[in-house]
Symmetry: C2
Subunit: 349 residues, 2 copies
């Protein structure tokens, strides 16, 4: 979320320009970026899901005009717009299908409606694929040739980039890797999607807190249990704070989530074999520079080294994302840039 | 393995021609195909692993000259050669690394040595990727836009085709999906690779027989147990035969392998989301037209329908392969064709 002081000056930028829209259940984030992915202007506003999809599409279209205005450029200097939305969706048709995070926005031709409201062509993407492309283009993965992004939060999002493209899938269900099966024989852990044995049921923030509550029920003690018993609200940040101050249960909960993320990562190494794996989202415990962030990612790496084939285990880099909440709009703009270049016959990188 | 009577006549064929080599631990299979993938000539000879890789490369190169001679064409009518080998390998470097199925053929520049011996450019591929491309180009997957091939045998091979390309991975370990983790908490099932919880430990011919032996030890009865106790050798075919004649244990063993293959397939649907999944290899129980083959694939489909997201569960076709032992050389030739066309600037299909 770059504030005005961090915007890259248009006078030094490289055209053509692209706008990227990151549609979420809470906010619409729109950024204007140059040909090197530098943010020239940024606008955020609430999604206001209850006002319905046509109102949302209109405001998304207007947000593109708005970032052009903020940057002081003419809208026709924007070569193309990228739009990332949560699923379910039909990417080739440009349709929202039945997105759980946007109740009521069903069977809506979001790509073409946004396009109509801003007068520009729109490239449509899954939000996980857009965020992955953002990290791949200008973030933690910028020197990688292929990449998987895990986005850890309430759920587990994923994006896969191979050959400079996001794996969208034949039915727009590619890279739904929070729902790979890591433990088919476990009948206890229910994924929010309703199925069992999915990675998301073991390594998301939701599962971290569910496991903590299970441990409290079993009588686990320590400072985290005491804080929650005293009325503090259980969150991943609270667990992280107590882990940092030495609470063993808190540390174990985080290490266990990391272990499962490592297991899921092994499955992707043996499927996609990306050059690198990037971990982003809200549940990254302060990143590599924070003690718990370091502990978490080290545990992921350890599990991968122990379980993957020797060559990918040794060579696949695993690191934290660097773009934070900018990955979605930047990546959507990057995917728009790819399509613009493809249509213009520009094949070099 | 087409015999001479099945070769497509050169007089009706479509140039350019491609040769494909399928290098296995037992045989070298070489086919000459036309631009539509029709086999014009075929040659097979033993690999003779103990004679070492340079001898093998020489005979592979000669086999290309041989199929040209058999078809009555000039070798310079072959636009390019494709070569598929078992891993481990370094695909961009054209090197065999340490293939378990080719003991002693270590760190060998197989692509360039075969090329030197036939005087033609060679495209190098993983055998799983080559077989998948074969089914995708001219086999069961010919009308699919993207595809996963499971090759069920002693182990579980895999190939993934997305955007008319095989997913080779950044470290030549792409599509090693026999080694995705399906049950991380199971400490009992050891995969032949030495790790635990891998799909191959639940759904390969080896695991089918291991599970049968476990059941015998536990005292399971029935006609299969009796046959083995009387000295018959336990094979997937024997299990299939007894399942067909009504032995419940045999049927359950096959259904359990199918269930696990369905679980692994769900993970690929939520990762790659291919348009279709094709099942080939030695362990396909006679295919869709045989009662046990039908029972097996129906159980796979059932598990996928029960566990995958509704849209891929409903829309992803799951069927048997159609090329048998021809998939490897045909697919290698197809990958050579792709590279030839790319280098020639031919971008249409």
């Amino acid at each position: 979320m770059p504030d005005r002081s961090e915007w890259f000056p248009v006078s030094k930028s490289q055209s053509p320009f692209y706008a990227g829209i990151d549609l979420g259940g809470t906010n619409i984030k729109t950024g204007l970026v140059d040909d090197l992915g530098r943010t020239l202007a940024y606008h955020r506003e609430p999604t206001l899901v209850a006002q319905g999809p046509e109102d949302g599409a209109q405001r998304m279209g207007q947000s593109v005009l708005r970032v052009a205005e903020l940057a002081g450029i003419n809208v026709n200097q924007i070569a193309r717009v990228g739009l990332g939305t949560p699923g379910t969706m039909d990417i080739p048709a440009g349709m929202l299908r039945e997105p759980p995070n946007l109740p009521g926005w069903r069977q809506f031709p979001v790509r073409d409606r946004v396009s109509a409201h801003c007068g520009l062509d729109v490239t449509y993407a899954n939000d996980g694929g857009a965020a992955a492309y953002g990290e791949f283009w200008i973030g933690s993965g910028r020197e990688l040739s292929s990449m998987v992004l895990w986005t850890l939060g309430t759920g587990i999002g994923c994006g896969i980039i191979v050959d400079d493209m996001s794996i969208d899938g034949a039915h727009s269900h590619g890279a739904e890797c929070g729902h790979i099966i890591v433990d088919a024989s476990d009948d206890e852990r229910l994924c929010p999607c309703g199925q069992r044995g999915h990675l998301e049921a073991y390594a998301s923030a939701t599962s971290l807190m569910a496991t903590a509550r299970e441990q409290f029920k079993k009588g686990a003690g320590g400072s985290l249990a005491e804080a929650v018993a005293a009325g503090e609200i259980l969150t991943p940040i609270l667990i992280s704070k107590h882990a940092e101050s030495g609470d063993q249960l808190s540390a174990n909960l985080i290490l266990e989530a990391a272990r499962w993320l490592g297991i899921g990562t092994v499955t992707l190494l043996h499927t996609i074999d990306p050059e690198g794996v990037v971990i982003g989202g809200a549940m990254t415990f302060g990143g590599e520079s924070a003690p718990i962030g370091r502990m978490f990612i080290e545990r992921v790496r350890q599990e991968v080294r122990a379980r993957a084939f020797p060559i990918p285990a040794e060579r696949t880099t695993i690191r934290y994302a660097s773009l934070g909440g900018d990955a979605g709009y930047a990546g959507a703009a990057g995917l728009a840039r790819l399509e613009h270049r493809r249509r213009s016959g520009i094949t070099f990188a």
